[in-house]
């Protein structure tokens, strides 16, 4: 039970942080926190059901998180090289422009 609460806590803190932060890297970190919440949830359920498939799910989630982190490193890094900023507000030129 607690483990589920923790997972929900992680997940929702991830959401809050994702919304709250303006730094692209930090936003990504918080989204990883959300994935961590999912990992915790799946492992937690696996423990509750006393079997292993949930752990495999958690493992896969970890793997994909790592992959995403690698992509993030490159994408954000290259953006920083051209833009010299990671402020998401400055990286938002593509919204609706007034006509």
């Amino acid at each position: 039970m607690t483990i589920l609460v923790i997972s929900a806590l992680l997940f929702c803190t991830g959401i809050v942080g994702f919304c709250l932060r303006r730094n692209a890297v930090l936003m990504f970190i918080f989204s990883e926190l959300m994935v961590l919440g999912a990992v915790v949830a799946s492992v937690g359920y696996a423990l509750l059901w006393a079997e292993e498939k949930g752990q495999i799910l958690g493992l896969v989630l970890l793997t994909t998180a790592a992959c995403e982190a690698a992509m993030a490193l490159l994408i954000i890094g290259r953006i920083y090289r051209t833009k010299r900023t990671l402020d998401i507000k400055l990286l938002s030129s593509r919204g609706e422009q007034e006509e």
């Binding site: 039970m1 607690t2 589920l4 923790i6 929900a8 806590l9 992680l10 997940f11 929702c12 803190t13 959401i15 809050v16 942080g17 919304c19 709250l20 932060r21 303006r22 730094n23 890297v25 930090l26 970190i29 990883e32 926190l33 961590l36 915790v40 492992v43 359920y45 696996a46 423990l47 079997e51 292993e52 498939k53 752990q55 495999i56 958690g58 493992l59 896969v60 970890l62 793997t63 994909t64 998180a65 790592a66 992959c67 982190a69 690698a70 992509m71 993030a72 490193l73 490159l74 994408i75 954000i76 890094g77 290259r78 920083y80 090289r81 051209t82 900023t85 990671l86 402020d87 507000k89």
Partner: protein, 198 residues
Amino acid sequence: MSVAEFVALLPVLAGLGGMVWLSSPVYVAICFGGILLVIAGWLAINGAEFIGIGLVIIYAGAVVVTFLFLIMLANQTGQAEYERAPNRPVLAWAAGILLFLMMLFSTVWREGVPGLVNRSQMQAQTGIEKITSDRRHVDQQNRAPFSRTARLSVELFSRFFWLIQGSALLLTIVMMNCVVIARLQKDRRGDTNDYSSD
């Protein structure tokens, strides 16, 4: 909730608070690593040793280091205005808290999660005889009462064979993609044009 659990929860809460409120990205990354470690330990204690260790290795080892690398690369000091000023705090907190309440509510509502009641009760409730998905799996389980980790590996290399292949493919592709992106030349068509329009 046992006392131990509560004690384990406290550092997590603290870490989360740090992540949200600390302005320096480095500290945030370190807090994230701390949370990971606590969670990993906690999971390992609770019987998911493999995943606990995986968490430490993959996340704390690879991901957090990657973050720190990126942060160092981008020269983040936490001094810039955009790193300190929260973005739409009211909306963000409202969304987060409400979603948390939603998940909490659905988790603890009445009987709550079926896993919290015991198996037989669940079976009675759903009317399904064999709750486990796979007959062969059940047979194996009965035949070979391995440890949990061992069972995990059996699962991984039997039923989830193609999953392993898929994950491997994923990792390979990401690796190659990263190499390509890293080697992309800067002065490509479109780059120069865009300075003016931005």
